[in-house]
Amino acid sequence: MMNICRRRLVRTWDRLLSRSIATEKKRRPLDERSGWEAVIGLEIHAQIASRSKLFSGAATDFDCSVNSAVSLFDCASPGTLPVLNRRCVEAAVAAALALNCRLRTVSSFDRKHYFYADMPAGYQITQQRSPIAVDGHLDFFAYSADEAPVAKRLRIERIQIEMDSGKTVHDLANRRSLVDLNRAGVGLIEIVTDHQLHTGLEAACFAEELRQVLVHIGVCGGEMQKGQLRVDANVSVRRVGEALGVRTEVKNLNSFKFIETAVKYEIDRQYRLLSEGGQVVNETRGYDDEGRTVSMRDKEVRQDYRFMPEPNLPPLRLSDGPSDDPNVVSISSIKQTLPAALADKRRWYIEKIGMDPLVAIYTVNDTARMKFVDDCFADKTCPPIESMAFWLDEYRLALRKHKMDFSTE
């Protein structure tokens, strides 16, 4: 029974995540293949779920008509000044706590300069020298349709608050670009991980877990197709035990499937280059519809961001304990509002309830489903734990027939 459930669940997953099923041979990590290994670090941009922008009172609803959610600050009109959104600071603190980071009671903002049409000021306000949080970690499971879950931990290097850019629509037929500034100035948290991942699958699974955590604590909407969560992957390949190789950056991966296939493609490409005696060029790469990475000539120019302290924003201060200063966010009061961590919840399902690890991961990966399962446990008519996966899947199919989901009462 358990096995049938499990197989069925895996199939469900496969549909859910639409992951490509690779053969065993293809999946084998590089180091087993040849004494080489891939080293991957991620930079994740998560849009903060707030009503107004990071530094202005314009709405963050950028589905509204073009260039209407734009204040004079967002279009960089001279004489305007940034005023920091309290909600964005609280969201960054919540994310830092959920990712086990060390929060810094004083952090500051910098200007990162570059010229691009959707960045009217010519610089982005970010936290380069003094980020709000550093040195955390997130536990996740690396698994796929044909690989059992393996528990992993990835160190988080830093979390910083920064502003988003506008959106450019490339009108190739007329050889022009169209710029909409509705997104310009929306609050982001950038999460930079250590380079401790080795496969595309690990990268995709980590990103998925991170998404769940951020959605769970209400920091980010997590809808990747809307660009609410964007992932850049730094990929390099080296011989095991040697110094890090030259890396490339694969930009704007906006689905878990693309993270897996594009990173895998990039590893294979670099491996082929290096094993034939070639060299990897340090560059930014995009990817096409099939997950192949392609050089982005656009950004090949030598970059020098000319970082400088943002002169219009004093240092951002947090307090460990309660705070009566409206300009100082209290870490302890944010901590009190956080729901139970997903990892703890999962451990509870596995250890206390006796749930199969796969089923536990599956349950936790959807907030509505998790609530449904919790309600089931509270109810005496709960099906036995052994057949939980079977019933969950049956119920999911039944719900889908009626175009409902687990959030329905």
Partner: protein, 159 residues
């Protein structure tokens, strides 16, 4: 950054110093002219076409002629004087606001919806979009300058 360094590092006439310490005023009340040993100032580096092209691209400022590049060298030389100030164990002051706390505002929508104002300076628009050339166009390379002319120009600034 400058003010604090002046207090800590630079030697000045003794009368001026006592005045500072008694009144705790950090900006000199009287002009305090520091004498700079020009022989110790690191000369500005040789500039070449490649570096000037790079600087132009970064700053979007065109060094249109030899005179402009000469002024740039003078500016670098002037800035190099600051390196004579001993800043050991002095934490750089990034801003006069650094003792303050960043003010926070509540998360309410009270701005935007001013599309006509936002677009009023656009020279080219389609529907409600700004229109720009496709892709990111790096600054085009300017014609090469007469480098012998710049190198022969006097190095010291006249203050």
């Amino acid at each position: 950054m400058l003010l604090r360094h002046l207090v800590v590092g630079v030697k000045r006439p003794s009368g001026c110093l006592t005045k500072w310490y008694s009144s705790r005023v950090f900006v000199p009340i009287e002009p305090a002219i520091s004498h700079i040993d020009e022989t110790k100032v690191k000369p500005a580096p040789e500039l070449n076409q490649e570096l000037v092209d790079h600087l132009e691209r970064l700053s979007l400022v065109r060094f249109s002629n030899e005179e402009a590049v000469h002024h740039l060298r003078k500016a670098i030389h002037f800035a190099n004087r600051l390196k004579l100030v001993d800043t050991t164990n002095v934490k750089p002051m990034e801003s006069v606001l650094e003792e303050m706390t960043c003010p926070l505002r509540e998360d309410v929508v009270n701005d935007g919806n001013i599309r006509e104002q936002v677009l009023c300076n656009a020279t080219n628009r389609v529907e409600e979009y700004f229109v720009t050339p496709p892709g990111n166009i790096a600054l085009e390379q300017a014609p090469s300058l007469d480098w012998t002319n710049i190198r022969d120009a006097p190095d010291k600034s006249t203050t």
